[in-house]
Every structure is written in C-alpha cells, then in structure tokens.
Symmetry: C2
Subunit: 805 residues, 2 copies
Amino acid sequence: MVTSPFSLSPFGQARSTVTGNPLDPTELNQMHGFWRAANYLAVGMIYLRDNPLLREPLQPEQIKHRLLGHWGSSPGISFLYTHLNRIIRKFDQDMLYMVGPGHGAPGFLGPCYLEGSYSRFFAECSEDEDGMKRFFKQFSFPGGIGSHCTPETPGSIHEGGELGYCLSHAYGAAFDNPNLIVVGLAGDGESETGPLATSWHSNKFINPIRDGAVLPVLHLNGYKINNPSVLSRISHEELKALFEGYGYTPYFVEGSDPESMHQAMAATLDHCVSEIHQIQQEARSTGIAVRPRWPMVVMRTPKGWTGPDYVDGHKVEGFWRSHQVPMGGMHENPAHLQQLEAWMRSYKPEELFDEQGTLKPGFKAIAPEGDKRLGSTPYANGGLLRRGLKMPDFRQYGIDVDQPGTIEAPNTAPLGVFLRDVMANNMTNFRLFGPDENSSNKLHAVYEVSKKFWIAEYLEEDQDGGELSPDGRVMEMLSEHTLEGWLEAYLLTGRHGFFATYESFAHVITSMVNQHAKWLDICRHLNWRADISSLNILMTSTVWRQDHNGFTHQDPGFLDVILNKSPDVVRIYLPPDVNSLLSVADHCLQSKNYINIIVCDKQAHLQYQDMTSAIRNCTKGVDIWEWASNDAGTEPDVVMAAAGDIPTKEALAATAMLRQFFPNLRIRFVSVIDLLKLQPESEHPHGLSDRDFDSLFTTDKPIIFNFHAYPWLIHRLTYRRTNHGNLHVRGYKEKGNINTPMDLAIQNQIDRFSLAIDVIDRLPQLRVAGAHIKEMLKDMQIDCTNYAYEHGIDMPEIVNWRWPL
Amino acid sequence: MVTSPFSLSPFGQARSTVTGNPLDPTELNQMHGFWRAANYLAVGMIYLRDNPLLREPLQPEQIKHRLLGHWGSSPGISFLYTHLNRIIRKFDQDMLYMVGPGHGAPGFLGPCYLEGSYSRFFAECSEDEDGMKRFFKQFSFPGGIGSHCTPETPGSIHEGGELGYCLSHAYGAAFDNPNLIVVGLAGDGESETGPLATSWHSNKFINPIRDGAVLPVLHLNGYKINNPSVLSRISHEELKALFEGYGYTPYFVEGSDPESMHQAMAATLDHCVSEIHQIQQEARSTGIAVRPRWPMVVMRTPKGWTGPDYVDGHKVEGFWRSHQVPMGGMHENPAHLQQLEAWMRSYKPEELFDEQGTLKPGFKAIAPEGDKRLGSTPYANGGLLRRGLKMPDFRQYGIDVDQPGTIEAPNTAPLGVFLRDVMANNMTNFRLFGPDENSSNKLHAVYEVSKKFWIAEYLEEDQDGGELSPDGRVMEMLSEHTLEGWLEAYLLTGRHGFFATYESFAHVITSMVNQHAKWLDICRHLNWRADISSLNILMTSTVWRQDHNGFTHQDPGFLDVILNKSPDVVRIYLPPDVNSLLSVADHCLQSKNYINIIVCDKQAHLQYQDMTSAIRNCTKGVDIWEWASNDAGTEPDVVMAAAGDIPTKEALAATAMLRQFFPNLRIRFVSVIDLLKLQPESEHPHGLSDRDFDSLFTTDKPIIFNFHAYPWLIHRLTYRRTNHGNLHVRGYKEKGNINTPMDLAIQNQIDRFSLAIDVIDRLPQLRVAGAHIKEMLKDMQIDCTNYAYEHGIDMPEIVNWRWPL
C-alpha cells in the first residue's frame, strides 16, 4: 500500500518534501565537485599512505597495513557539509555543524581540509600533494589522529565516540547565541539511544528571541554495525508522525541520484533556513516568544553512498557491509586493490585537484572564508569567545558563625542567593541546570532574577508559584542526560554554568561526564584550543539525608568514577558548611578546563566556620580544626578526620564525647574539603607532600577517618602514605533502607557512637577505662534506633546536638 | 483554536477516544468504592499512626511525626489498578502491573492490601483494624517499608526509585509469556528521561505469537516535583502524533469526574484488551508474525486527584503542590488537621469497611482471586516460575591447549558456540542481549539456532547475511538502557539471559545495574521472594584492544562501580583464555541472585589453560601457574600476578624475559580470575583467608600485579593484606589515544618491558646486573613505539610472541 512517494529504499532519484532546482548548472557542478573531492579524501584517509593523488597505478605498499575508519556514514556527512557551505555563504550565516555519527569523521575531515581549515591548525597537512599524503596517513594511525570527530578535529565540539548526545550538544551550543544555527546530524543508530530519543524535546527549551536555532538532520543511513536501524524501517507515515509529535515540521530528502539529491537538499535547506529566520524575525520584532514548530530534515541516503556496489558478490553500498572498511585484503587480493583504485578514480581526482594537489578554485569557491568556515568557526573553539564571569563577592553571602558547631543552617540556600547574583551579573552567558530539583535542592533564590525556562503551553495556575518564564535561564527537565549535554556544549562554546543534582542519580550521567573528562584531557595538549569554563556539578540531596527515600536514593559512588579520570582534569570538594560551600563554589565557577564535583547536602546542618576560617580551610584543602582539637601543637593520641557535612558532624560529636569521657586524651581534628589533597603530590597536582601529610596525620597514631562516600576510596587515595597502616575509614557501605538520618549513620557505622568505639578500640591506654563506656555507647545506639523505629524521627537530643557536648 | 474535545486541563467530565458505558450501576458503585477505599488507604499511609478507621475524631498524636510519601500520582495508580482488576476477571487474563511512578507506592499498596495480597505476605498487616493500623504506620517509617514499589511490595518487580525503566521492564516481562499482558504505567515526569523516551520503541521487538503484550499507559499527571511535565503541555495533536510515530494507537482518557471517568476507562480497557487479543489471535492462528499497531492509553487526570483542592489558599489538586504531602503541620495547625479529617472522611470509610475494619465483600468482589491478583501473581515473583537452564557440557566447547602460551584463538568465539547450544536447549526461556554488537563481539554462532529478532520492515538485501527473523531470540538495539531493562525484567519474571557489551559503554547503564544490585540485596532478606537467575554481563571489546577506536572507547571503570555494591550480590571474573571463559560462563549462567561481570576480550589471544587446568583455576579463583613459575614450591624472589587477558600475556612475557636474563631469579606467576578472592574473607564471601593469600603472594616479597582495569582497584581490595606494602600494581591510567595494542600497553606501563623493569627496580640483587638490561628494555619500548608510528601496526616479533621466549 503506497501512500506516499517515499520508500524505505534510499536508491534512485531524489524524493523530497520541498522541491525545486535552486542550483544553476555551474553551482551544481561546483558543489558536486566539492563533494566528490570530500569523498575521495575520505577513502584516501581510510586506505592510503602514499600516492595520494593516484598519479600512478595503486600499489599494495601504498596501502596502510591496518585499515580503520568508518566509510558508511562519511558520504552523507560530507554531503551535508557541502550544502551547509552554500547556506553559510548565501545567508552570511553563523553556523556550527555537529556530527552525531562522529565515527564517520572522514566525512567531516575531508571538507575541513578542502576549505583550508585543517591546514590552518595543522600546517604540516598543507593543501598540496605532500600535505594530503600526511593528511591521509595520520588518520586513525598510531601517533596520528582518531577516527571520530575528536578534539583534534577543527570545527568539532562533539566527538561522537559514545553515541547519543548530538542533539543535546547542539541545543546547548545554540542557547544565548541568537545568530547561530547549529546543524545537528543525528545518526539513525544513535537515534535508538535513550539520551538522543529524549533530546528531540529540547525544542521546548529554545527561545527564538535570545537563542539561536538548531536544525536537526536525521541521517537515515539504514544500518548500524550489523543491523538495520529501527527508524529506517518504520513507515514514512510513522516517521513523519514521530517528528511532528516531537514538535517539528519534518522535511524529507531521500534518494541516491547525486544531481537530483543536490537540488533537493539545496531547496530543502533554503526552505528550512528561511523558515528559521522567519520564526526568529517574527519573535524578535514582536518581542513575543512562543514555541514554533521548528523545521527538521530527514535525509535518507544509502550507507556507503558512492562506494562499491558489491564486493565479492556481497551487496555493500546501501547495506551494513559498508559500515566500516568496505573491503580489505589489499596486500593479498589484487582484485580488491583494483576495485579500490577504480572506486577512487570514479571521483575523478584529476578534475578536482591541480598539479600541486590543491583543490581547484572553482570548487573551493563554494566554501565560505575565514571564521565562517565550519572548520574554523570560533563557536567550535569556545574559549576564544569566553568572557569571564562577573562575580559578586561570595564573602557577602556567608553567615555569621561566632562559635563553631552551635547554629544550624541549610547549606545550599545561601549558595542559591550567591548564584542568583552570579546570574544577575551574567544574564547572557550563565545558566543553572537541574532535573526538576532546584527548589528541592534549596537553590530557589535564583528565581528572583531568572525563572525556569518554559515555552510550552501555560495554564492559569502557573501564576501561583510556577516560577516559569520564556525568559528564564534556569533549565529544568527530568533528564540528566539532556541537561548534561546542554551544559557541556554551553561550556564548549565559551559560556558558564552550574549543574545541581541528586547525588545518587549523578550515576545516570557517569558515562557522559567520563567522556567530557576525556575530551578536556586531550584538549590540554592542543595549543590552539582555548581554555573553557569548568564543568561544575553540585551533588546534593546526598546519601546521608536520603534515609527517607530509601536504598535507591543512596549512592555516593560517582566519586569513584570521577577519580579514574586524569588528575589534570578532575577535582572533588566536600565543603561541610555554608561558608566553605560558598568559597568552593566561587573558586569552581572561575576555574577552567576542570570537572569540579562539589558534594554538599541541602538540609539544615551545623555550621562550623566563619568566612575567614572557611576561606583558609578551602585554600589549604585539609586543615586541623584547632577549636575542636586538644593536642595543642603536640603529637596527638589519635587523629579524627572527616570529609563531608554529616560525617563531620558525627566525628565532632565523637570527639566531644571522647574528650568528656577521657579528659587526658589528646585528639586532633582534621577537616578534609579538597579530597585530592590526600593523594601523593606525584599523583595529583593538589596532592600534599608526604611531609605535610605526615605532619597532619602523624606517622604512627591511629587515624579515624569519617568519610561521606564509600570508605575504600580513602584507602585508594592514601595507600602510599606513611601512616596508612593506622588509617581506619568509615563510610557508606550499602546498609540502607527506610531510616532516620541517625539510624542510617548507625547502620553504616559513621555515627558518633561507632567512631568513639573505634577510637577506644585502637588505643591500648583506653582499654580498661573504656570498656564500660563502649557498652554505654552501644546502648545509646540501640536507644537511638529504637526511638527512631517507635517515633519515626531521631531522638531530639541527637538532632539538637551542639558543640561542645 | 480547538481542534478536538481534548484539553490540557484534566478537570471535568471524561473525554475519551473510546466511549460507552460498560459499567452497570452496581459494578460502577463497587469499583468506585474499591477506588475510594484505595485512596483512603493511601492518605492513611502517609498520615496516620493510629485511629485508622476514624472511629473517633482525629487527634494530633495519631499523626506521624514525619510526613513522607507521594500522594500526587497515587490516585491515578490505584484508579488503574481498580480497572485492571475488572479486566483480569472479565477476560480471566494473566496480568502484571508495572508502576513507573513507583514513588506513588501508596496507590499500589492500597489495592494490594484491599485484595488480600498484602496480608498474604505480611500476616501482621491483617485485613482488620489492627492490621490496617500497622499497615499505615510501617509505610515510609524507619524499620518499615519504603515509599516506592520496593522489593517488599507484593506484585512489584519495578521499584520506580530511579526513573526511566518502566517500559523496558514491562517489555522484558512480556517476552516469551504469551498469555501475559503487562500494563506499564509511565509517569509523565519519567517520560522525559532518555531511557523511557526510547523504550517506547520496544514495540518493534515483540512477536505477537510467542510473546505477551504490553499495554503502556501514559499517566499525564501534569506535574513533576515543581514543574509541569513536557508531555502534559504539548497539544493533543502533537501527543497523538508522537505515539502514532512510536507505532501505537493512542487511546485518550481524560478528566476528573469519577463516574464518567470510570465508564471511559472501562470502555477503553475493554477495547484495548480486545484489540490485543485480536492481534494475538490473528497472528497465532495464521502463524504470521508482523508488527501491529499496538494500543496504548493516555490517561490524563489531576495530580492529587480527589485530594484537597486548596490548602492555605494555594491550589493543590491538579497542581504540583500535591506531588508529595499536600499539607503538613498537623501537630501545630488544627485547620490542617481538620482538613485532613474531612478529606479522609470524603471517601466514606464507614461505607467501605465493616466493623472489623475489613473491606466489605461487595467491594472486594471486584478484585480477582488467588494468583490472578496483581499483588499475588507469580509473574512478579519470577523465581517461582523459574526453570533451570538445560545446560550443554561446556567442556565440549573448549580448545586443545597442549602447551600453554603457544597458540592463539579468539576468546569469545567458542563462547558463542556454547551460547548457541544453551539457546538451542532453552528456546523459550533464554535470550541473548547486545547493542548491535554480537557479531562484532564474535558471538555470531548463536545465529545458527536463533537469529536477531526483527519484526519491523524487511528489505530484500536482508537475505544476504542479515541474520534477522521474527522468531529470533537475540535482542539487538542500540540502547544499552533498553536492553538492560528488558533483561532485568526477563530475569525477574523467572527466565535467563546473557548481555554482551563493549566494556567502555557499560558505563551507560551504571545506574541501572546499581539499582538492580540494590533490588537483589533487599530480596535476600525477603523469604517469600524466590531465587532468580543472575544478571550476567560480558564486557568485551575491552580497553586494551580499543587502541584503534581511541580514548573514548577505553574505560574499564565499570568494575569500580560494581564493587561498591553489596558483596552478597556482586561477582567479577577475568578469565584470560577460551577455556576459562567457558568455565566462568557456565558457572554464571547457573548461578542465582548475583550480578556477574565477566571481562574478556573478543580478539585472538594466546591460550594458556587446557580445560582441566581452566576449571581448576576458575574454581580456585586465584592460582599459581606452575608452568610459568620457577620457584618450585620454595619462596620466590618475586611474585608476578595478572588479571585479564592482555595483562596476563604481558606479565608472562616479562616473566619469560626475566628468567632468560636472570636464570637464578625465582619467579612465581599467579593468575587471578575471580577478582573478589583478593578481598579479605571478612569483606566478601569469596575472599581468601589471610593465610591463603599470604601463601600465594608471600608476606614480604615484591608483587608486581598487572591488572586489566584502573590499578588502584587492586589496592582497594588488598590494603589489609600482610604484604600490601610490597604490592606494585600496573593498569590502565588514562593514557590513550590512537595506538597499537602494544603502544597502548607501553603508554600505560602494563607492557612486558615496563613489568620487567619494575621487577629489576624492586630487587636489590638485580641492581647491578640489571642496569644495562633496563636500558635495553627501554630501547625496546622505543623501538616498538617507533615501529607502530611508522607502520601502523605492532612489530611482528611482538604480535607473534609465544611462551617461552
């Protein structure tokens, strides 16, 4: 039952929603030439180490030993690149091209080289035969460049190594860049991932007045590694409905015949870009921002388009067999070598490149010039565009702490006020991101200057505390993936941001943050990549106050993952109170090229440090709290250390109890805010020298370390330290269900009673005197638990505990 | 512009696609009563600790001190429960109800108690006033039960703590259960997550002949914690298009008026279930499986339906303010207490419950009986239905290894043959899952007995190696989230499975595996939950052979996350060769209640162990390889240990070189397959005693440990061991770009040369003799790297290395 001219097969004359022949024969010829040259380069990159222009018949020794790279999606990627070139010139348009199927880097690198951008950043890959040879050889070659759109790729801010983030990155780049159109090419394989499937909804978070636009292009290549893709095998009607349902107007461009496909794509892009301009113009002239139906394009082309039809009798073009290298065995199989040569010559390189091996001017002319080039745009090297944040003085947002440990305050609320003013000072290049939790996380003061962005439908009741606005700069969607993708791209295009999330569900974006860390790590070695702002993640609603939500909400393991990344890139802070949180946040917001993880709970907690002490402690990272210690400069009997708000409170209570029980006991209290101070200085730039570590933690006294997360992480950081043998760590050990905060602490033995017992157990001099006290402490634990199980809340004595006992 | 009777506001008379009045007044009254009772219980759970039937006016002391729970989605959840009861009875239907917004557990627990299921599993919560009081008090109460559909919830296999997995779980439960309909209620907040957004496409993976059906119900509650949900604020037309695009026929049921809503929902479910039966009947009678348009339901009801309209002048019902507890301050605010009492009395408990506090028979009659009840169905306690796998003898699939370290074979290919026969023996309760990678991962032998499931459109070329079939039992979709969700539910409903994935991208499902581990951990303490099969994940295409794909594909950190979970639940194996992989896989497939992670690369690797040795080594977990050692029962000078295939090969090569250079050096070679043997026995049930550990690793000799993943993980496992101070671990330390395998090893210092240098550096007796050898080894590293950068491949001598040198 044919209900439309569209079919599931990409072969034949172009079929398209928008028709027309906007290209005159000259331009058509130029564009087709540019694309042929790009395809020629893609094949060259995959196969050749010499004879780049086929000046002589191809010999086996000119072929790489190991054939790597993804041919399949490359022709589609370069086809679109070629057409975007025309659009940039025609409309003098700022444009960024984000390639979801980044594995098909040859399709991006080829045009990037042809337009001259590649040689601009890598002079050795010059626009001549010798440069082309280097350009070919280095591709996916040891010591060379990767086979994705890696950081080494000029014009890329999206590697496409791990799939799924193309559109969230595209939208993040478009925020607050009103003159920019980001073309996001989403692969049909990638489109099966969860993160990509929901990121289509990002169109509900674009304001046509202040933001740029995203033009998503779904590349229906048909196949993944070995399978058809889901979206390529549903009916045209379903496909159309799907994207209409996502809120777009889909325009289809399907086929394989080059000439008609060029005309169809040119007509379609003309139409879509005009539609975008029209939407923007209307919104900008009226000042009324409503959600339009943004255009998107479905581009259905054969996988491995223009490549070998058949190899050894098996279908290749338009099938999954063209996913990577369509044929190998070049050194053993002369027929394959011959087929490769014929394939490459089918692009007629002699028509495209001059004697020197430079693309002829007629073809190069279709590319824009200078920074308008997709490979040279500063939007893809956002550090160039980055303006530092105008920072309010964070000291003004602190609270007075006359006596440590005597007053309580919610830790994150003042941070919210600080972020409000950061926002107010930077209303075009700062945003706050969170999955429907900024109020829950007590950062709601931000709404006083900028509300939650909302441009979908409004209802009357939204007036009553909805905090919604189409001008809002707080981004809330229940998708950590989408938020993280938006933020990453917002930073990569030179802006600033802050992400607050429930600690346990940071794991949802483990893989994304991993990948961003890898990107930052590589960029450190590329001198042409300018510095960008750090990725700042506040993990709040932490494990110790998820007693009521239960086991699923208790998982502080994100730190373990982050610590696997390069020490040049990752930082972890556990400020225990309001003033230290402000100091840490101020530092993180101004830092560059890092991933900063800040762990701090949102609930009311005891306050320990006035602003001066907080700044000093944050600067030092690890410090003795004199007011809680009684070793007075001498060697203590025991070191009590803590990292994290609740662990600090419990460790202090244990210290107070022990000092009461054993007045002669000398206890040193050490607070750890900058976790990576614990690592040896040889392992992390923040690491303390052994001498400093030893002077804080002693070389032979017991250390009881009360830690926010899984306890073994502290061992991992400190196993080389002199006194590691005496280090005893408490932390979360997966003992959770529905508890009270105190009961949860007791189950995991980070509570004051357990810690005091730990000290008694480790000091021989307390063995006798401590025996009955241990019994008493155990009884107190039981009392606490019983009280909790009876009343559903913690004992008031414990909740109201203040320093000193 | 009104184009349909549907609106974004859920208030008023029912509006529905299917109309009719199938309920006669008696049935309507019964159903409404059942639902009122359920709502009454939901409120009671959140608020009351006494006076459960309101026999007397409500007093502050009868209210819980801490008010917890999510009222907002509860009425919708119980509304659907009530209607599913009718369907089960009417069609004698096997049904499983999966609640995505599991936070709204009161909406599930209420009906579960009313139908008698709850009391069946928890006798103390009997069907009388005293039982109801306990039932109320324990909810979200320390020592009681959680506020989600936790493992303690009869009828639940989906907790809904972390959002996003409702539909993938629903589909996984439906596979191979032809008589089952799984109703998956997806929240509109949850629907914004990536995993949920793509899991709608699971309808392309259901075979109407052999599988059951999923009836997704989108619950348009309108709001998340503090925000409108995206799907509740797009037009009816967009919403309809979206689900048509996903391949469903959406049926809308919207409104708030109870009577008309009951009629509309009954009519709609009658229609949908009949449609499902019709689809199945047609496919089953003709034997032709094609993808139908399955029905789905959009249920738009007010958030907090039937709850307080306004509290303190703020809108509550139908707004986000009803998300959790609609009003607090019960002990201080008499007006709130009064409003609560009025609210509860509005359900007229005296009409619903008899003198004993038992639901009156007229209302209870609408629930099914026995195992048909949603709270009692064995599908939700899958261990009851589980049949053990019929296992072929894995020994038959091994390869001959006459001399260790002399032949090469791809490690995973024989596993593929083994899995093929596991599949052949278990064609109704075993499936293989992988993200478009089973061929790439060399498990393709499975296709000989069962192909990849495919029921979307076919094209002619699929004949040529497509390996697709609507009968296939290999599940491939480019969404690790969806696969993991399918598999978890397949296991939870009593079946078996195996998941193979690229190691680096296992991180995509970190959070899901975490949550499954937590589920399993809790189940260990519930004697009524029967044992289920383990979750088996093969991580292949590992870091050391992702040299060509580059940095993004190199991440062995999943193990760090897994190790944070309860030792009662997690197991990690690193078999280095074919025979050990088979032995491990056989063990894992037959194990129960674990998460087994198997790390083994797919490429050709040296083979070390014949089947007998492999079984012995796997059983012991850590063992001395006598053939590679020359300490002959005495104390060695150094211990060389390895875990993982490439690390083993490099450690063996280092051992061979060292023995050649220093013939008097006594080296012991220790192979670690069961990683958790390294932990103390007090920490993990597999842990070696200190005595056994010391006898393997000595108490004072240097240990060079070559590890597959990040090196500090070994320290974390062993820091308490006697000889930890002499343990030197090599592993991946984020030094990767485009390399050869050898160059990647060298960059991270897990290569033979680095290891030999490590030994020389740690043995004073080698200092003099070893000096020039160290220089030579360093030169060899440089030669290897240079060769790789010149030729693009590793030096043939290295690739062809065999034991002994």
